[in-house]
């Protein structure tokens, strides 16, 4: 489902502060699997997630999602593909604080032109599932951390894609909430998702749900 071939990402290319964030990373995740990128901060986990999530393009190498070579797609096609396949949970959730929970969740559907009724239906379903219905009309800035994360997850799932990517999902959670999160991950896996997360939390990496752990260091996959 997810395949990177010698993907390299260089930031600030050609400038004095040039950084090779990722060097020839090759990773493969089968359909329906849960994989974790493990490593200290600055090891290139986020960069790899961002490449797989079609958020940036590699400077060399290739990214293939479901057999499609996405690394050279123009923005319009890339985003259409992203909307069809991807859900992304960012480290700080990256919600829009002035909008309500349901508005936030529905945001990814706006470019697809899915009609209002259908958007509401999907959002209600997800809010029900993640215990957010009571918070529906709340502005996101008034939510607790756990609620914000659940909103972010709901937003990542609303397009009914095939892949869920999560960047350090448990970094801001205590142990109880981490357990809860892992439970949710299990549920999402049952929804036929392929999941790739980055984490340095042992509780996540050693969880029986996880099928594969890639260890990263200094922008390379070491194991």
């Amino acid at each position: 489902m997810i395949k990177t071939i010698k993907a390299t990402k260089i930031y600030n290319q050609g400038r004095t502060n040039e950084v090779t964030a990722l060097f020839e990373a090759s990773v493969e995740v089968e359909k329906g699997c849960i994989a974790v990128l493990k490593g200290p901060s600055g090891s290139g986990k986020t960069t790899l997630l961002s490449l797989v999530g079609c958020q940036s393009k590699p400077n060399s190498g290739e990214i293939r999602i479901d057999g499609k070579r996405v690394s050279k797609l123009p923005d319009k096609f890339l985003n259409a593909f992203k909307r069809q396949y991807m859900g992304f949970v960012f480290q700080n959730y990256q919600l829009i604080p002035d909008l309500t929970v349901s508005d936030n969740i529905m945001l990814p559907l706006l470019p697809s032109g899915i009609v209002f009724k259908e958007r509401i239906r999907r959002a209600d379903e997800l809010m029900d599932q993640f215990d957010l219905t009571k918070r529906k009309k709340f502005k996101v800035k008034n939510l607790s951390g756990g609620e914000q994360q659940r909103t972010a997850i709901a937003r990542a799932l609303i397009n009914r894609g095939k892949i869920l990517l999560a960047d350090e999902p448990t970094a801001h959670l205590d142990s109880q909430l981490t357990d809860e999160f892992l439970k949710i991950v299990g549920r999402i896996k049952d929804m036929d998702y392929t999941i790739l997360m980055s984490s340095h939390d042992a509780k996540v990496c050693e969880n029986p749900l996880v099928d594969r752990v890639f260890e990263m260091k200094d922008g390379r996959i070491i194991q």
């Binding site: 958020q55 319009k76 706006l110 470019p111 032109g113």
Partner: protein
């Protein structure tokens, strides 16, 4: 995507843009106020000149086809009646009519009035109805004086102040006696712009007041039934009498409109700098994205919004804001010009006479005026707002993922 999805997408873009504007009230309001100010200035000038030109053109339609003046030493002098016969004989001319008119300065009122000689017996009963105000006409028809006149409403008000609203005594220090003239009516206010300072006198009285000798007139009015021939006949008259000057109606009309057009163009060009400054100010305010806005756009890009859609949202924000401002600005200008009667601006356009200011303007607004306002205000603003919109739209989603701020 089928048609329905595409329409829904456009609606979403519109909704989201509106939502953004409402969410950032402070910023939107700032731009709105400046823009409204800008548009109202432009539209005021436009409305005022539009109405004035229209009014002038309308009033000049009653002018003779050709006005003939005599020129001596570069000045206009009185024209002798001998020309009359010769001019009337030119083929194509229906009638040539000598006119006596001029100005009379009233010391007591400190104002200049226009005196116009006219055969008042021509004002038959029906004409009274159309020209004169109901409550003033006829009541003085039985006046005792030898001469009669009709006056403009402003003149009438002035005369009332000096208690001479029934009979006015014309007087000049070098005259032996004063000349009493009965006032038989007041013009309706609709004709105010032309008739404000007008005194329409019986021809004989006008000649006396203006001190014209017996065979002299101010000028000659020529009427020509076929409009195509006007320019030719004017040429013929000038060839036959090099000392005469001809002024055709279309010349007067284009002078009117160019005077107003020129004034408005001048004012507008002067304002162009102000407009530009405003635009830069708004642009600076709307183009500069706050950290939070930048992050938001990054989020949208990260969850699958394409560059074009973000660009459309941002562009639409400017467009909505400038359109709303344009509408409001036009309304403000309308109120300012037609309800408040353009204080501050009318002096620029009407200028020379102190007696005019009570004039009424008839609203004249056409689609093209609105288009012109759009062309001056919205078009350049939209053009410059494309680049910041694009800058925002190409925000890398990657940035918000890497900077965990």
């Amino acid at each position: 995507m089928n048609l329905r999805n595409r329409l829904e997408k456009q609606r979403n873009i519109l909704d989201f843009s509106l939502q953004n504007l409402i969410r950032r009230k402070g910023k939107s309001l700032f731009i709105l106020v400046i823009f409204v100010l800008l548009v109202s200035i432009i539209s005021s000038i436009l409305f005022l000149t539009g109405s004035l030109t229209r009014e002038m053109i309308k009033s000049s339609e009653q002018l003779p086809d050709i006005t003939i003046q005599k020129i001596k030493g570069g000045r206009q002098v009185n024209i002798e009646s001998v020309y009359l016969d010769q001019i009337e004989r030119i083929p194509g001319i229906e009638a040539a009519e000598p006119r006596a008119w001029g100005y009379f300065y009233l010391d007591s009122l400190n104002a200049n009035f226009t005196i116009f000689g006219f055969d008042l017996s021509l004002l038959e009963a029906e004409d009274y109805e159309t020209i004169l105000t109901e409550n003033t006409k006829q009541k003085n028809l039985t006046g005792k004086s030898q001469y009669k006149m009709a006056v403009g409403p402003v003149v009438y008000e002035q005369l009332k102040k000096s208690k001479m609203q029934e009979t006015y005594l014309f007087f000049n220090p070098d005259w032996e006696t004063s000349l009493p003239v009965d006032i038989i009516g007041v013009f309706k206010p609709e004709t105010e712009l032309q008739s404000a300072d007008l005194m329409l006198l019986q021809t004989d009285a006008a000649r006396k007041v203006l001190e014209l000798s017996d065979d002299e007139f101010t000028d000659i009015a020529v009427y020509i039934p076929n409009p195509e021939e006007v320019d030719n006949i004017a040429l013929k008259i000038r060839r036959a009498f090099p000392e005469l000057r001809t002024i055709t109606r279309s010349q007067i009309q284009s002078t009117y409109s160019s005077v107003f057009g020129w004034k408005s163009g001048l004012v507008l060009s002067g304002l162009l700098v102000v407009i530009l400054a405003f635009l830069v100010l708004i642009w600076d305010r709307s183009g500069g994205l706050s950290q939070e806005e930048k992050r938001e756009i990054g989020v949208l890009k990260a969850i699958g919004w394409d560059t074009e859609m973000v660009l459309a949202v941002k562009f639409l924000e400017s467009l909505i804001l400038s359109s709303i401002s344009a509408v409001l600005g036009i309304l403000v200008a309308y109120v300012y010009i037609y309800w408040l009667r353009a204080p501050g601006l009318r002096e620029v356009f009407i200028g020379w006479s102190t007696i005019y200011p009570s004039f009424k303007l008839v609203p004249y607004i056409d689609l093209k005026y609105l288009m012109l306002i759009v062309s001056i205000a919205i078009v350049p603003y939209s053009a410059v707002s494309i680049v910041p919109a694009w800058r925002a739209a190409i925000t890398d989603p990657d940035e918000i993922i890497r900077h965990n701020g």
